[in-house]
Symmetry: C2
Subunit: 427 residues, 2 copies
């Protein structure tokens, strides 16, 4: 059986210490111990290492109950900077964060519509980074790493984009071009994992250990947090809630299946719903996704019955699809994020609120809360900055595992079994 290595466990402890510091601002060792459940001795060791690495710094001393002063610690903003890159279908944006994860600068270029090559993407990223770093000569040699979010199914372990339907990418190798264009160590991921990481560190993760971060945008997905850890799966593709069947035999989805959640609650899904209600509606002529949603909301506010009906139906689909997550995963909480919530969050929330109890079993919904966040557009960047920081910490702070995991011969099950590996789809 595969096992949790001591590296994983040590990394998790560091994560808990660091997150406590980033979330609380200034902490004592005792506070870290109380919040993380780690022993005082472990906290002392980990805080000591992080101070030595320059990630944390001693902030001062406060008197404790017994009267003896105790040290406080905080993130060290002078310790380098982090780059977060958000590659979307229509733009590349680079954000510069200081080491305490405050954004200090931003640079962005648009992408032409249509398919892109990784060479072009890497070149645009490189240009943005050059421009932004030229504005900050004091950071020469101080950037700890870059976290790059790319669309589709990104597998960081193999360094490939497995599948990005809008660009027709299949198994595209990423690292060679990215490492050529970016002057610091690169960590890649997809926007869903980035958004969920941001929510884990700075959002619902501060209050819940079992929750789901739903992303509503052009693409749709669900970051699943189990026991305080983001569920990635062996191929980093967990969370493809957008491509689970909601409507058997329903609308064709861009992934090749039919009836997927994304084809109903993603922006193209909302557009299809409008078209079903009124195929001649003028909104259907609006090509840009954000313009479409923004104008849909204006039409709804102005009393347009098609817009109103489309929003209600979208809310109904969303309630059922969120109900699926709730029944399957029994989370404590669901955060609904993503750019669509910025425009339609309030209206969708109202409808989901009306419908959700009917979509959930009594058990899973007993202690559930749901929260729609009007995303400020920083979620993906913030998450990628966190992932870049984690990459840095792994490089500098963690020893290599002393030996590879022991291979284990599979043992026979109790009872007859047959199985097979799933054949791969063509294309």
């Amino acid at each position: 059986m595969a096992t949790k290595t001591s590296k994983d466990i040590r990394s998790e402890s560091r994560f808990m210490v660091l997150r406590t510091v980033y979330v609380r601002g200034t902490v004592t060792r005792a506070q870290v111990s109380a919040e993380t459940g780690l022993s005082p001795a472990t906290v002392t060791t980990l805080v000591g290492e992080l101070v030595e690495e320059g990630v944390l710094r001693e902030a001062g001393r406060i008197s404790s109950q017994g009267g003896r002063p105790t040290s406080t610690f905080q993130a060290n903003p002078a310790r380098g900077a982090l780059l977060a890159v958000d590659v979307a279908e229509t733009y590349v944006r680079v954000d510069l964060f200081d080491a305490s994860l405050v954004r200090v600068d931003q640079e962005r270029v648009d992408l032409a519509p249509g398919t892109q090559s990784i060479a072009t993407i890497a070149e645009r990223i490189g240009v943005c980074i050059t421009v932004i770093l030229a504005r900050h000569p004091e950071l020469e040699g101080e950037v700890l790493g870059a976290g790059i979010s790319l669309p589709g199914q990104v597998d960081p372990a193999r360094g490939v984009d497995v599948f990005a339907p809008n660009w027709d990418w299949h198994e595209v190798p990423l690292m060679e071009e990215l490492e050529k264009a970016v002057p610091v160590p690169v960590r890649i991921d997809n926007p869903l994992m980035a958004l969920a990481t941001g929510e884990l560190w700075f959002g619902a993760g501060r209050r819940f250990r079992h929750f789901v971060a739903v992303n509503l945008g052009t693409g749709v997905g669900a970051g699943i947090i189990v026991d305080g850890q983001l569920l990635r799966g062996p191929g980093n593709s967990a969370g493809e809630w957008g491509h689970t069947t909601l409507v058997w035999g329903g609308r064709a989805c861009r992934c090749g299946r039919s009836g997927c959640v994304e084809a109903y609650v993603g922006v193209e899904g909302i557009r299809a719903t409008v078209a079903e209600i009124d195929p001649e509606h003028e909104l259907l002529a609006v090509p840009h996704h954000r313009d479409f949603v923004e104008r849909l909301m204006r039409a709804e506010a102005a009393g347009d019955p098609t817009a109103r009906e489309a929003l209600l139906r979208t809310g109904d689909y969303l309630a059922a699809a969120v109900g699926n997550l709730v029944n399957l995963l029994n989370p404590e909480h669901v955060s609904v994020l993503g750019w669509i919530t910025r425009y339609a969050g309030w209206e969708l929330q109202e409808r989901v609120r009306e419908r959700i109890a009917q979509e959930c079993l009594p058990g899973p919904s007993a202690a559930l809360s749901i929260e729609f966040t009007e995303a400020d557009g920083e979620g993906v960047s913030l998450g990628m900055a966190v992932l870049a920081l984690e990459g840095f910490l792994e490089r500098v702070g963690l020893p290599s595992p002393s030996s590879p995991p022991t291979p284990v011969v599979p043992a026979a099950g109790r009872g007859p079994r047959t199985g097979w590996a799933v054949p791969q789809r063509e294309g």
Copy 2:
């Protein structure tokens, strides 16, 4: 933020040690360390505790590489016995296991059709236990505990059955009646969690850390194993895959929703599919669930086109619903279990095998295996025996946490948020 307590972590380490012993039979400390990833010192401590508690015993000595003999350990079958109780809609069955989890005896009574009270159920369990223990006077005082599986959504923490639709149970308190009828400590759970626990210890859990155990029967569910741990959720109701929407606006489900997976791949779902193809089909007159499935398979083998078509459609629904799990969770493996597989496993597997690649995204299906198990009917009992053993180990072996978890004041998120608790459905 809520945190993992040292109790959880210690319990997980014991679990890993014990499972290694139960799976391997006879082990050295070095083998346990290699398989679990725990340090040799931790393994020495845990094995020592388990030997002291009588759960393990020293089995002998073998010479190690350096020539110095090293001890081997195994489960101690003389250390007590365990009762596993499977309460189904039509029967109560009690299995007696020795402490090395080998079944040694069984007793069963039928339940009359219709709603049951917990008092009746408890009385039947008590009768079976009295009968079985009368046959084993040598076990006087030696039974370590009883694991009782009850239908529906069981919440062990509160000791209630939250929802069991077939008996119209809502928030039924269980423990008083059960503890009155059962002479040993009781641990309760539902069949899905029991089945998944058995699969975790003795099935796919020996080879995979991320997998799903699908249960196909009268009820339908999916035990989700993340990083070697069964996902339960705060209300112990994770895994209600049977009550996720597959067919928006589809068949009414006994849970009150429409279009649920269970209404298509559970036994009542298969019956509804037969009725859709041929409302006059003679199979529809067969009342008992197992008889129905058994006769359906005989009809299919004899060339009945309705039976054939019903099986194909069921396979199509199952492939889409399993595809949903794969895309959402990116497991390494899916085990399909449950009594339906005993009759129709081969035929359903054939159809799922044909369809699954179309239902999965390229990433999540890349390294996926799927296995249909012809269940031997012992899965629930074996799982409940394991859970009873775990309960015993917790009672005797684990210190109480020294203090309750620190309450944390929720911190404000970054950006405006609104949220609400889900209102509860009536009835």
